[in-house]
Every structure is written in C-alpha cells, then in structure tokens.
C-alpha cells in the first residue's frame, strides 16, 4: 500500500508544485524588480481560467483554446499594468496593498457579472481523461501527468530565458539592483511591462491547466495567491530558481502532509481526533516551513539581491 500511495502523492505534489511555480515566477519578478506587492496576481489566474473556459466552449478544443487564453490574459495584464499598477511603483507597500486589494474586488465582481456566480466546469482535454499505468503498476490520471509535463517544459523554458538570453540578463539585473540597471541604460519600464505580460500568461496557464482539477469559480485566486507569496518568500524574492525550489517544496509538503499526516495520526490518536487533526495540521505545515526558513535564512533560500 504505502509504496504506491507514496509515489502517487509525490506525483500529485510535483504537479501542484509546478503549477504554483507558474504563479510564483511572475509574482517574484514583479516583486523583485519593481518592489511591488501585487495582490491582484491571483485575479489574473482566475481571469485566465474563466477565459480558458469560454475559449474551450467557443472552439471546442482544449489545445486550441489554451494559446488564446494565454494571449488574452496577457493583454488583460498589460492593460492593468499600463492603466493602474504603473502609477503605484513609486508608492509605498501599503498603497500597493490597498490598490491591488481594490482590484481584487473589482475583478471578482466583473467576473461575476460576465460569467455568473456559479462555478464553471472545465473538462480535461479528450484523450487525457483516463488513467495510465506507470511502471510498477501504479494507476495515475493521465491529465495530471500532462500537467507535470507542461509545467516542467515551461520551467525549463523560463530557466533558459532568464539565464541564457539577453532579456533574461536584463531581468536579473533589474531584480538584483534596479537603480544600477537604470543607470546602465536599461529601459526598466518597457522591460517591466513585458515581464508583467509574461507573468499574466503564466497565471493563465496555471489557471487553465488546474481548471479541470479544481473548480473555476470566483475567489479561486485568493487562496492560491497566499501560497504563491509563501513560495516566493521561501525561495527568496526576485529569484526564479528560488521560486522553483520553493514551489516544489510547498507543493510536496502540502500534498504529502495532507495524505500522510492523517495516516500517521491514526497510529497515535483515536480515529475521531486523527481525522480532524490531520487535514488542518497539514494546512499549517507550509506556514511552519516558511517560518522555519525565515528564522534560519531571513532572505529566503536563494536571495536575488546583494
């Protein structure tokens, strides 16, 4: 039993972690380069998932709808950046929190007006609905495997983009010392709009891929947003590598905790207590992880500055 369960939960954790990474990557760059707290990042994730649902309904094809949803969300992100967020870079964190909190309220209601208050069902693409058999005789949902594949591919692409290209070099320069980058002639505003578009597209990708697993509904962005913040704080703000490691850590700890803690508690406590204690303690685990990281490495695991 335990070997199969362990493998299955590891894969689930990996899949969740990779999707968290998509969200955290955009967030950590926005945070790292412009020192901007963007609570509305979760709203882009929600909007991406809703747009995906509409495009799937319109085109009838998951894989045709995906690039459309990504592009549309990137446009929404750029519009948001150019109209509102741009004015907030020079302001303090509190103003940014208030403004982006206001954007969450506006986005939630706008989605409710356009798509209605009911959660929307998004189906997994045809051909990826059944389970596949992994070596070792484990049955695992093929769609979840596809998510792992897509997530890994994007992570590799992003890594190459950030560490091997000229644009990536500018991004890293901006994250490690913004003033110096500006002094060296980097057009940080244009760079930032581009980063924001990329971040929005990654949000949409996460929203679209997770849509068939979780429900597409108003408020889906808020909870995952906090997880994404936890990821970037653990990883070190502004660091893509940190976001990757942090996301996998959080994904694995959260998923494994949820699956394994109740079993562990069942050995110690009566079943009534164990079934209550397990799920909530596993929710706490990632915050304990973050607090522990901050105590020992206050700048996160891979600090981008300094």
């Amino acid at each position: 039993m335990s070997g199969i369960l362990f493998l299955e939960q590891t894969l689930n954790g990996l899949q969740f972690g990779l999707m968290l990474f998509l969200l955290a990557a955009g967030l950590t760059l926005v945070f790292g380069i412009m020192d901007m707290i963007n609570l509305a990042h979760g709203s882009l994730y929600m909007i991406g998932a809703y747009l995906m649902a509409s495009f799937v309904a319109a085109t009838g094809s998951f894989w045709l709808a995906l690039p459309l949803a990504l592009a549309a969300t990137a446009v929404v992100g750029v519009a948001l950046e150019m109209s509102v967020l741009r004015r907030l870079y020079e302001r303090d964190h509190l103003a940014q929190v208030l403004a982006t909190f206001a954007i969450i309220l506006i986005a939630n209601e706008a989605v409710r007006i356009v798509w209605g208050p009911q959660p929307i069902l998004l189906n997994a693409p045809a051909g990826l609905t059944g389970p596949v058999e992994l070596p070792g005789g484990v049955q695992y949902a093929s769609y979840r495997l596809a998510i792992i594949g897509v997530g890994t591919a994007v992570a590799v692409l992003l890594y190459v983009l950030v560490t091997r290209t000229r644009v990536g070099m500018l991004v890293r320069a901006g994250a490690s010392n913004r003033e110096m980058a500006i002094a060296m002639g980097v057009n940080i505003r244009r760079l930032f709009t581009a980063v924001f578009a990329l971040g929005a597209a990654l949000c949409a990708l996460a929203g679209a891929m997770l849509g068939p697993i979780l429900a597409v509904q108003v408020g889906m962005g808020e909870n995952i947003l906090i997880l994404a913040f936890v990821v970037i704080v653990i990883g070190g703000i502004g660091s893509i590598r940190g976001a990757f490691v942090g996301a996998l850590l959080v994904g694995l700890v959260d998923t494994m905790g949820r699956a394994l803690l109740p079993i562990g508690f069942a050995q110690i406590f009566p079943p009534q207590v164990a079934s209550n204690l397990g799920p909530s303690l596993s929710s706490i685990m990632i915050y304990v992880l973050m607090a522990a990281v901050l105590v020992f490495r206050p700048q996160g695991l891979f600090p981008a500055r300094g």
């Binding site: 004015r87 509190l94 309220l105 808020e222 913040f229 706490i284 901050l294």
Partner: protein
C-alpha cells in the same frame, strides 16, 4: 480634542436618531462600526505609529472572539470573566507571534505575520468540537449584571461605545506619552533609536502586544455582536480588510482607524442596499473597489489626511 467631542456627540446621538426614525437595524450596524473602529485603531498603533506592517492582525481579533464563543458554549457567559480572558489570550498570542516575527523586517515581517495568522486560522478550522469550518453559534450575548441587559441593542450600543471611548482615550495617552514618542522614533529611524540607547526590540514587542490585546477586546465584542464566531474572522481577507480600513482612514493619524472603519462599512452598507443601485446592488463590491482605487490614486494620505491637508492649505 474638538474632533473627539464632536465625534462622541455624534456617536451618542446616532442610535437615538435611528430610534426616532424607526430604523432599529442601524443601531446594530452602528455597534458593528464601533467594534471595527476599535480593531482598526489597534492595528493603526502598530502599523501607523510603529511602522510594523502586520498582515495578521485578524489572528488576535479572531482569538478574542473565539475565547468568548468557547466560554459561552461551555456555560461561562459573564463578561467579567470572558472579556478580560479574551484580551489576555490575544495579548499572549501577540507576545508569542511578535517575539518571533519582530526578528524579521520589511516584506518578510508582512509575510511571517500572515503565516502565523493563517496557522491560527487552520487551528480553529480544525476545532470540530467548536464548529470547525461552520463556525459556532453562541447562546446569547455575555452577561454583565449591574442592571444592564446586553440583549437590548441600544444598551449594547452604548456599552460598546463606552469601551471604544475608553480604549481610544488610553491609546491617545499612549501615543502622546514617552513610550509613543519612542515608538515613532523607531519607525522613523530604527538604527538611530538603538544608538541613542533604546531597547528597540522590547519597545516594538510591547507595542505589538498592546495592539494585539486591544484587537482581542474588539474580537470579544464582535462575537457578542452577532452571537456567532467563525474561522473567517481569522482569515487573511479579514486582516486585509482591517488594513484597508487603516489605510483608507489615514495611516499613523489618530482618527485614521475609526474613520476608515466607519467609511468602509458605511460604503459597503450604502452600496449593497438596493436603494441606490437597484438590481446592480448585488455587485456592490465593484463600486467599493473602484472608490478604494480612486482614494489610493488621488488621496494618498487617506481620508483624515485629505481633510487635514485642506484645512492647513
């Protein structure tokens, strides 16, 4: 002083006017505003005066509420026991959380306070014996004796008002005392305050604990207000809402917390009633968001700051 007297006069007259207009609903609404005014004022102490951006203030608010709730269902309904205990537990929570969080600063402080609040949130979600996710209904409001019946909404309103007035008086004394000056000095320049010889960490921790204790009292009151407590009182959205109230009113301005709380709740109440927007009142969060956004962009010092600036200009 003039502000305090006119606000107090308004707060005293408000429920009487509502009663005369036969609108008893607004007496309960008024009490809710007063309670959130207290919570926001407590957050403004750490956020505005201390410069510590705590994103987990709902933890103390919710802890205070749950102490009253748990004691009430266990049969202890006396306010003289439950409320001080709520304050003490919230202060203790603030001591523990503050002692660890205050070792970090900046964004990391924001995130670690958030993390601790979320831990408490999940602990209360897991307390199935006390309602868990569904929350906990109280058998009724606390009892105080002295011939006061808190079930009566008018009595309840004035009890809350008296507690808020006392709290604000203490806060006023505190921020204008030597302690308050040191706290502001630390906010302005921590290194210099330390160089002068102040134990910076101790001062910040004391400020954090006092603020948490007041939030605990506000929590004890909010549990009585609706005779219901739920984990959503500790959710990060609640912390965010308290922060919005303070920023809206004016960070580090004495009336910033109370004015911000009243403004936000009044705004929500007005826009969610169907009188103004008709069928669109269902989507009241949209105009609330738009107004908040406009305030950030055009009134950066909050409501109190906006009017203070005009007066001085």
């Amino acid at each position: 002083m003039k502000t305090a007297i006119s606000l107090l006069a308004f707060a005293i007259a408000f429920p009487l006017a509502m009663q005369a207009l036969d609108q008893p609903f607004y007496i309960g609404f008024g009490a809710r505003v007063l309670i959130y005014a207290m919570a926001a004022a407590s957050l403004n102490l750490v956020l505005g005066y201390g410069g510590m951006v705590s994103f987990g203030h709902a933890a103390f608010f919710g802890a205070g509420a749950y102490i009253v709730g748990i004691l009430a269902v266990e049969g202890t309904r006396s306010a003289w026991i439950a409320w001080p205990l709520a304050v003490a537990v919230a202060a203790l929570a603030a001591l523990v959380i503050g002692a660890m969080s205050l070792r970090t600063r900046g964004v990391y402080f924001i995130m670690i306070t958030l993390a601790f609040a979320q831990m408490l949130y999940y602990i209360f979600v897991s307390l199935k014996a006390y309602g868990g996710d569904d929350g906990l209904s109280l058998p009724g409001r606390s009892t105080v004796g002295l011939g006061l019946e808190l079930r009566n909404d008018l009595t309840w309103y004035y009890v809350v008002l008296a507690l808020l007035a006392a709290t604000l008086y203490l806060l006023h004394r505190l921020v204008h005392s030597r302690f308050g000056r040191v706290i502001e000095a630390i906010r302005e320049n921590e290194t210099r305050a330390a160089a002068i010889g102040y134990p910076v960490y101790g001062y910040k921790l004391a400020c954090f604990v006092i603020s948490g204790a007041i939030a605990g009292l506000a929590g004890a009151l909010i549990a009585n207000q609706s005779s219901y407590v739920s984990p959503s009182l500790l959710h990060w959205i609640q912390s965010g809402t308290l922060m919005i109230m303070v920023i809206l009113g004016g960070v580090g301005r004495f009336w910033g917390g109370p004015i911000g709380a009243a403004a936000l709740l009044a705004l929500e109440e007005t826009l969610s009633g169907s009188a103004l927007l008709g069928d669109y009142a269902l989507h009241w969060q949209l105009p609330v968001g738009a107004i908040l956004l406009a305030i950030v962009l055009f009134a950066p010092q909050g409501i109190v700051g906006f009017f203070a600036r005009r007066r001085h200009a």
